[in-house]
Symmetry: none
Subunit: 231 residues, 2 copies
Amino acid sequence: MKIPAYRRIAADLADKIRTGVYRPGDALPAQRELSTRYGVTLMTLRQALQQLRDDGLILQQAGRGTFVAPVQAAYRVDTLRSFVEDLREQGHDVTTEVISVAAEGAGLRLERVRLLGDQPVIHQTSWIPEPYGSRIADENFRRTSLYEALADAGVTIVRASERIVPGLLTEPVAGHLRRPAGEAVFVSERTTYAMDEQPVVVDRAVILGDLMEIRAERAATRLSLQWATAE
Amino acid sequence: MKIPAYRRIAADLADKIRTGVYRPGDALPAQRELSTRYGVTLMTLRQALQQLRDDGLILQQAGRGTFVAPVQAAYRVDTLRSFVEDLREQGHDVTTEVISVAAEGAGLRLERVRLLGDQPVIHQTSWIPEPYGSRIADENFRRTSLYEALADAGVTIVRASERIVPGLLTEPVAGHLRRPAGEAVFVSERTTYAMDEQPVVVDRAVILGDLMEIRAERAATRLSLQWATAE
DNA sequence: GTGTATAACTGTTCTAGAACTCAGTTCTAG
DNA sequence: CTAGAACTGAGTTCTAGAACAGTTATACAC
């Protein structure tokens, strides 16, 4: 398993951005500087930078420099990833705080807050119906992601359906996100299904609007009937 | 205005795909073959192919070849559609009210309101930079869609990038939508690009949150995204 | 027949440069 | 004092190779 140099470099730079060695708005060292520092050609280094640019981590300006993208975390709807995976991909340091785990109805209710650095950005309530709920009730959800736990329990997720509307921040979620009520937020309702079309997770997430945005990229062939991407 | 070789080549190949010289599923000539044919290095040719891959026109498989992407909707303008086409598809009666058409900056500024029945739901400001703006300045935008007008003017759109955030309704848009300020809305910013990566349309839309929602269906290999009316 | 090397394709990664364009800055002539 | 020219340092494009890695068909051995 050989990892190409440009991927190593991209991963290293993404890490440096995530850990704050290079902060949003900062200029990265010049391409020639970085290429000698990593001991590769300019060509190879540029391949690494392109990866970072595709992931939205950096902005390049001819004649000026390469800059770390400002912190507007993007929620790309064109992939089958969770919030957290999406954000990690973009070099963000995401942590999870478990507010409560409890049996509710015929299932398990999980209330979590996602933090970007110190700032809570997402309040998420997940309901996992039986028989899946009890299979994963003992997990430590601060360490393990819900999807990992379900995968470990032998549950294969095949599709998800999501509905997003804008809304206003209200109590008590406002308190969890440490923001005043009345701010603009996304409200996302998502249901995830197993192979037998049984719902596995029913999610409701409140997402801070000034810290998160939805980004969609569309290109000709990647679309099918209705703004659909095939990959 | 110097056009880099790799863009010329990408445009040429895209054209050959669009006109059916290479048909969906076909293998393109090998990279080395194409590089000598166009008289450039393998590196330069690969830059051209990467552009086509980013636009979803081709698929590359190590050891097998480069293939024209299957689902052929390639370069059909109506696949890069927006709110209105999405809603019409769902059987809604969408009408357009043109608020103003004026030259602004180096381009054309178009302000429109979209109505669902009698109710205005979207306020949209479009800016079409030169040289595209003047080509379509004489259109009647109540009849003709912006994308139709551009297609008629010979502009080929290859991709669009969209950014959506939640917001609060403010004046003067609130007046156009006949709603009080302070309501929850989507704010969508969308830029549409031509083959040469030049922006063709820069859009900003304010969408009523209680009447519209975003729906996403995700499966392992496919995602569909559409604007829908809230129920 | 059945397997398995291997040759000959394919795309992928990388080197070591050179020349170019773009955006600021600084110097200079008027 | 200012307009413009020259300079500087950044990203961009390109050449001419070489080596690597995945895929497929075929020829040879069993």
